[in-house]
């Protein structure tokens, strides 16, 4: 939750571009938060406040929604988002071993970001490419038929 001051100050101007695309109505809250996060990478407190003001709702409402949905992050994320699928088909085909390999390679747990902010690691329930399980998703690109070795190699190539 402790975003550097500079990032918090930088937000309002960037948000104007997002707000211009909306009318400022309550049902737009989730798409707005999605757009804000795609601009800033996460939802810092200043952005939450700005969205609340734009929609004329209490900040608690925005926080309520932002913390309910798994995709929203209130802390800065790594440059690369690593998602390891733990869906049933991936599970029965060794998904846990992929997660173990990634976890030890990056030295973080699911839900965490490396200190250098290179990587964030997430555990996802299904990425829909089950036929190629086990699957790992790096920045929205799905990599199928993973092995621990292949997973480690992919991460090394990103460094």
């Amino acid at each position: 939750m402790s975003a550097p001051k500079s990032e918090m100050d930088a937000t309002p101007a960037q948000l104007e571009g997002v707000f211009r695309r909306y009318r400022g109505e309550r049902p737009e809250l989730i798409p707005i938060l999605q757009d804000v996060q795609s601009v800033l990478g996460y939802l810092p407190p200043a952005a939450i406040a700005a969205v609340a003001k734009f929609l004329r709702v209490p900040e608690s409402v925005v926080y309520g929604v932002a913390t309910f949905y798994a995709h929203f992050h209130l802390t800065p994320q790594g440059r690369h988002q690593i998602r390891v699928c733990q869906g049933t088909p991936c599970h029965v085909r060794g998904g846990r071993r992929i997660m173990d390999a990634v976890r030890s390679k990056l030295g973080i747990q699911p839900g965490q970001t490396t200190e250098d902010r290179h990587f964030s690691l997430e555990r996802v329930a299904c990425s829909g490419s089950c036929a190629l399980g086990p699957v790992m998703v790096i920045d929205d690109k799905v990599h199928g038929r993973m092995t621990p070795q292949k997973a480690r190699k992919l991460l090394e190539n990103l460094k």
Binding site: L29, P89, H91, P110, G128, C130
Partner: protein, 594 residues
């Protein structure tokens, strides 16, 4: 442009695309194909084509459903059979292309099937492939055959003919046609679609909504993703027909954000349909108007439940509410709302075009038509299939899916995701039918089918699903919030050698309370994986509790309790897939964020 003119233009574009006199490369480019490397492949192919002396067209198409063989590439040239190749890589593709286009020889390595004719040179005909035999493709009629980003391809293959027909009928007649088809909700619950539409049509109110539920959330289910990626127009046309039938002018597609390619293709499909006057105001000049919006989910499983989905579109926390009032009475923004699943909607245009009775010819008395399934897990031919209802699970797993890899024995088939159950080997002759599957202790579900071999521990699978539902419980009602947590605790104990006599009875008791007391389908169905595995695999539970032993040697935390030779074999990890197992830690599925 009238629809007739649109059709003629589309047909000429399609003739050009499908022309046998032309050289053409098709690459299977669904998410599966891309995950297997189709993207890199496209790059290499493009370089080859640029250097080619003769013009060769290249197109990305959707998913043929043969995911196990991805990436797939289809080649055609004048005087040559149209051949689809499997397991094509950046390394072997150049040889294939050179043989085919330069030497006029259809290479046999990696050749999978002849797409448009009989077997040639020992390469089997596509329809004769074991995975294709026995399939009837309605919802998947265009998948892998057309360019999903080209509306003309869809129109040329009878697309929007169903809508044209519907607009000639009264809304009541349209509903009657859907009723005659016997179509039931393909999202899993199986409510008759015609009755659902009628309910919404009869609800008083000037403003109504149609929503497509594309928040496919069951782990192991990818039918809707494949339909959206391979044939998005079929879903739009289904929504248009539904909107006309119930009297809606606005609609939403609520699609999960994890499938960006499907969203991208859906956006393009909407823009193209608007451009041709098939979406928007005064459609086909019949005075009917319909506007469509996309809403992306944000990673919450329960938002697939229809009242939670509505809350999410309204910009709220996606928590379910009690029914009645049903969405058909008071749905989105308090207006009557009809919500259908992707596959349900993809079937609708065909039902209108060919008549409800033609669809009802397939299937069983209570379960008409066809159903798509995604085959995954320990099965030889993973992929996407569509079969007539009434086919047995055994036929699906062994005839279509090719059985179990590695000479292993099958243990169970899991259907219905976290809301379903596991069917044991001995009951695999059960037909695919809503009622018969429910009797067997599982549900039809949306179509995820995960096959499990003998190395899978059924107690671990039950624990795995409870871990999922427990973390995805929204917390609004206590039976689900607290009940799933208690059940998970007991299952964690059992799988780590701390099970006690009486645990099974306690699981059944809590399970029954959760089933009866929960507010929505997530909680009501959450005990299913546990109850069905206790019903069919009680001996495995008893071995864990009484003998502190995991018969499948999958539960690693048991090993320390009673170490026997084979327990310590490396790779006997919880995932049952062999390989170098590590210490087992099981963080709950993270809701993300702090």
């Amino acid at each position: 442009m009238t629809f007739q003119e649109t059709k003629e233009k589309a047909e000429s574009i399609w003739r050009d695309f499908a022309d046998h006199g032309k050289r053409r490369v098709l690459v299977g480019g669904g998410s599966c194909g891309r995950a297997a490397g189709a993207h890199e492949l496209m790059r290499v192919i493009r370089i080859f084509l640029q250097e080619s002396a003769v013009p060769i067209a290249v197109h990305e198409v959707g998913c043929l459903g043969l995911c196990y063989a991805e990436p797939l590439v289809e080649l055609s040239a004048p005087g040559m059979p149209r051949v689809v190749y499997r397991d094509v890589t950046a390394e072997n593709v150049l040889d294939l292309l050179r043989d085919f286009f330069v030497h006029g020889r259809a290479g046999r390595d990696n050749a999978m099937a002849v797409m448009d004719g009989p077997a040639t040179d020992g390469i089997p005909a596509f329809a004769e492939l074991p995975m294709l035999k026995g399939q009837v493709r309605v919802a998947l009629r265009n998948a892998g055959l057309i360019d999903p980003e080209n509306i003309h391809h869809y129109v040329a293959r009878s697309g929007y003919a169903g809508l044209a027909k519907a607009l000639e009928l009264s809304p009541d007649q349209v509903i009657e046609e859907v009723r005659k088809s016997g179509l039931r909700g393909r999202g899993g619950a199986g409510f008759p679609t015609g009755a659902k539409w009628e309910f919404c049509r009869r609800s008083p109110g000037g403003e109504k909504y149609v929503i497509c539920n594309a928040d496919e959330g069951d782990p192991g289910a990818f039918m809707d993703r494949a339909v959206l990626e391979s044939d998005p127009q079929s879903v739009l046309e289904g929504m248009l027909i539904a909107a006309y039938a119930i009297g809606a002018r606005n609609g939403y597609v609520y699609v999960k954000a994890e499938i960006p390619l499907a969203i991208e293709r859906l956006e393009k499909a909407i823009a193209q349909a608007e451009e041709l006057g098939l979406l928007g105001d005064d459609i086909m000049g019949k005075g009917f108007s319909f506007h469509l919006h996309i809403r992306k989910g944000a990673g919450v499983f329960v938002c697939g439940e229809e009242t939670a989905l509505l809350a999410s579109i309204e910009g709220k926390r996606g928590m379910p509410r009690s029914r009645p009032p049903f969405p058909a009475q008071s749905g989105l923004f308090g207006k009557p709302t009809n919500i259908n699943n992707v596959e349900t909607l993809a079937n609708v245009p065909v039902i209108l075009e060919r008549g409800g009775e033609s669809y009802a010819r397939y299937g069983t008395e209570q379960s008409r038509g066809t159903k798509t399934f995604s085959l995954a897990g320990n099965i030889v031919r993973t992929g996407l299939i569509e079969v007539p209802m009434g086919i047995s699970l055994r036929e699906i797993v062994f005839d279509i899916g090719g059985g179990i890899p590695g000479g292993k024995r099958i243990k169970a088939v899991q259907t219905g995701g976290p809301s379903g159950g596991c069917i044991p080997d001995r009951l695999l002759d059960v037909p695919v039918d809503y009622e018969k599957l429910t009797e067997a202790g599982t549900i039809m579900g949306s179509g995820g089918m995960v096959v499990m071999d003998e190395d899978t521990c059924m107690v671990d699978i039950a624990r795995y699903f409870l871990e999922f539902t427990q973390s995805e419980s929204c917390g609004k009602c206590s039976p689900c919030r607290l009940g799933t947590r208690q059940m998970l605790r007991i299952l964690n104990d059992i799988t780590s050698g701390r099970g006690k006599p009486g645990d099974l009875e306690l699981l059944q008791e809590i399970g029954s309370a959760v089933r009866q007391g929960s507010l929505c389908g997530l909680g009501q169905a959450a005990p299913n994986p546990v109850l069905s595995t206790i019903r069919y695999f009680r001996d495995e539970y008893e071995a864990h509790i009484g003998e502190k032993r995991c018969p499948a040697t999958a539960c690693r935390r048991m090993a320390g309790v009673r170490a026997r030779g084979r327990f310590s074999r490396p790779g006997a990890d919880h995932d049952g897939a062999g390989g170098a197992g590590r210490g087992r830690t099981a963080p709950a599925l993270q809701p993300g964020g702090p």
